[in-house]
Symmetry: C2
Subunit: 370 residues, 2 copies
């Protein structure tokens, strides 16, 4: 674990953006293992292990799979695979990434119900249930990485299922799964996507998903030359196989991360993330800074510090050895974002960053109102 200031050891700042996160040694070692051919029993054993590791990660007994791509591709291909042009689909839009699913719904020519919220807000359950009544599906971003806002997915999913039993619930779990409690089966989720560069501590470039039986029935059989269609991966996955040339070394990296998750166990991992987040958010409050968003996620902290030049603060932290991410879109220049995912999720590291923040300027005595 990165308990000490890794920055000072390596001479380079420690990347603490909410993805990509630094890759730990055991993932780096896995990435450089020799390739195996993908049309072999050895590959099928590897893939079957990944599928099992993903079932644990997503807390599901249903089908899981892996595809090559960044998180954006994962959610887009989920939408492409489950919905047809003209399908009425509700898309929640409360930040930079969830706005992409709106744009892609337009590219797909869905009958879009665009549920637009202010940046930092999360959807209200009753409103979403009302909107979703006539819809085929709903696309929800569990944690919006641009704002740090966490949607109450459990409450929403259970309410949606009660109001519209057949609706397909597609979840962007990119900055949540592996870091925050997530229960695919118990919450009745139909499809979820996670990306490798977040809680799974791998290079970007892989996405993984789970898909319910309800959603499987919506997949269209298609041609091998339809790379974006989950159907092809789901079918091949039943034989623990991959329909295209798989990135074997990256699958080794994913396997190492899933083994780590299984050994540490999800409850311990979630608690590690939670404690780091809680300590950091409390420390910011003590300094007079404000944690942004209506319902702050534990997977990252987005904060503003009143009266401080946030750009100068970012530079100061960089010089101290910690690379936080800035804001995006309307929040550009206004906030900093710090990850609590992966091996960066430690209270000791949080104390280091808080200490560096204190050196930027003495604490403001009066705490800002939430």
């Amino acid at each position: 674990m990165m308990e000490g200031n890794v920055a000072n050891e390596s001479g380079k700042p420690l990347l603490l953006a909410p993805g990509p996160v630094p890759i730990p040694e055991f993932v780096a070692a896995a990435l450089s293992q020799p390739v195996i051919h993908h049309r072999t029993a050895a590959f099928q054993r590897l893939y079957a292990q990944l599928q099992a590791g993903l079932r644990y990660l997503f807390q599901t007994q249903q089908a899981t799979g892996v595809m090559i791509g960044s998180g954006t591709y994962g959610v887009e291909t989920g939408m492409y695979s489950l919905f047809q042009p003209g399908d009425r689909v509700v898309v929640v839009d409360n930040g930079k990434f969830s706005a992409r699913w709106v744009e892609y719904a337009e590219v797909l020519q869905l009958d879009l119900l665009h549920h637009r919220l202010e940046w930092g807000q999360v959807p209200e359950t009753a409103r979403l249930v009302e909107l979703a009544k006539e819809a085929v599906g709903v696309v929800i971003t569990h944690c919006e990485t641009s704002t740090g806002a966490l949607t109450d997915l459990e409450e929403i999913a259970l309410a949606l299922r009660e109001a519209a039993p057949d609706i397909l619930i597609l979840v962007d779990g990119i900055t949540s799964v592996g870091a925050l409690p997530f229960y695919f089966d118990a919450w009745g989720i139909d499809a979820v996507v996670v990306a490798s560069q977040k809680a799974l501590m791998n290079p970007a470039g892989l996405i993984a998903w789970a898909i319910s039986e309800r959603a499987q029935a919506h997949l269209r059989p298609t041609r091998p030359g339809d790379y974006a269609n989950w159907y092809n991966y789901w079918q091949a996955g039943q034989q623990h196989s991959f329909p295209y040339t798989p990135p074997v070394q990256m699958l080794y990296g994913l396997q190492a991360a899933l083994n780590y998750v299984a050994e540490l166990t999800l409850p311990s991992l979630w608690n590690q993330v939670h404690r780091s987040s809680r300590r950091f958010k409390q420390g910011l409050k003590d300094l007079g800074a404000t944690v942004r968003s209506q319902s702050p996620s534990d997977s990252l902290t987005a904060f503003h510090w009143e009266g401080k030049d946030m750009q100068a603060l970012r530079k100061h932290l960089l010089q101290a050895g910690y690379e936080l991410a800035g804001g995006q879109g309307p929040w550009k220049g206004d906030i900093l974002r710090m990850s609590h995912m992966g091996t960066s999720a430690s209270e000791a590291l949080v104390e280091e960053v808080l200490s560096a923040l204190r050196r930027f300027s003495p604490p403001t005595p009066a705490a800002a109102p939430e």
Copy 2:
């Protein structure tokens, strides 16, 4: 270089399939370098270097870019980005992979001119020019990996350009670029795709392309949520940036490979591949085996050995430490395929494999007719 029998050293067979190829040490080391954040000047420097390395690789002064995905995704997104539903497009189909571009043309609802050839055949220039007369574009697979057949791309591209000056020539260069002579600008190619796990000796998962000014004019401006559209990568690439979260470690691996290509130089690399291929093909002939396909490529050798059980031969080679690929589709069980790409491209290794072939059975005195 893998001059000795790496199989005997590591205890595992050496993978000699025509992709993925083993990754050399310098690529493995690059893959495990620490991640950098992608919205930084440091990333832009890395990406600018990659773009320059790709310009050399493709022999072009035009725009180059990288995307996440396997080779299939590269060609499909090229077709998606350059052609619109209803566009008349000629697709050459002479094996398993080129057949995918036919299928994808149907998914895209192009006005498809399906130029179907027997497995192992290559298109005839005059016939292709005739077909392409009224077309917006043509999709050609330079080397068909399933058969080892090499299309005379130079002759075809020059003839197409003369007959149809505005036609878009999209090339699948997956099993050719980096291994065989390829001249994007001099041949007047409009778009070419290469994948990381072949001559670039990296894990699968990255594709790279070049795009001509003529083709750039066909790109549709689109939304950020249209991950498959080359437009987004081309636009971001002008600032040496990547429109989504890039797989930074895999880009390091690609950089290491492009540096290797630049240092060794393309002519030396092509010659190394050629000499390995020539030696292997001659050795097979001496054994009485037959190299398949009308116009055998140097990047791989697909061969049949009359009177031998090819499955048993594959197992024999595996036990000797060499993992060749079998046949696909109609050629399943009928051929073996050996790569001459990457660091496997050495005459010494070819001698080892020939020697193992000789141990399977004494040479047949009478050489089979070609």
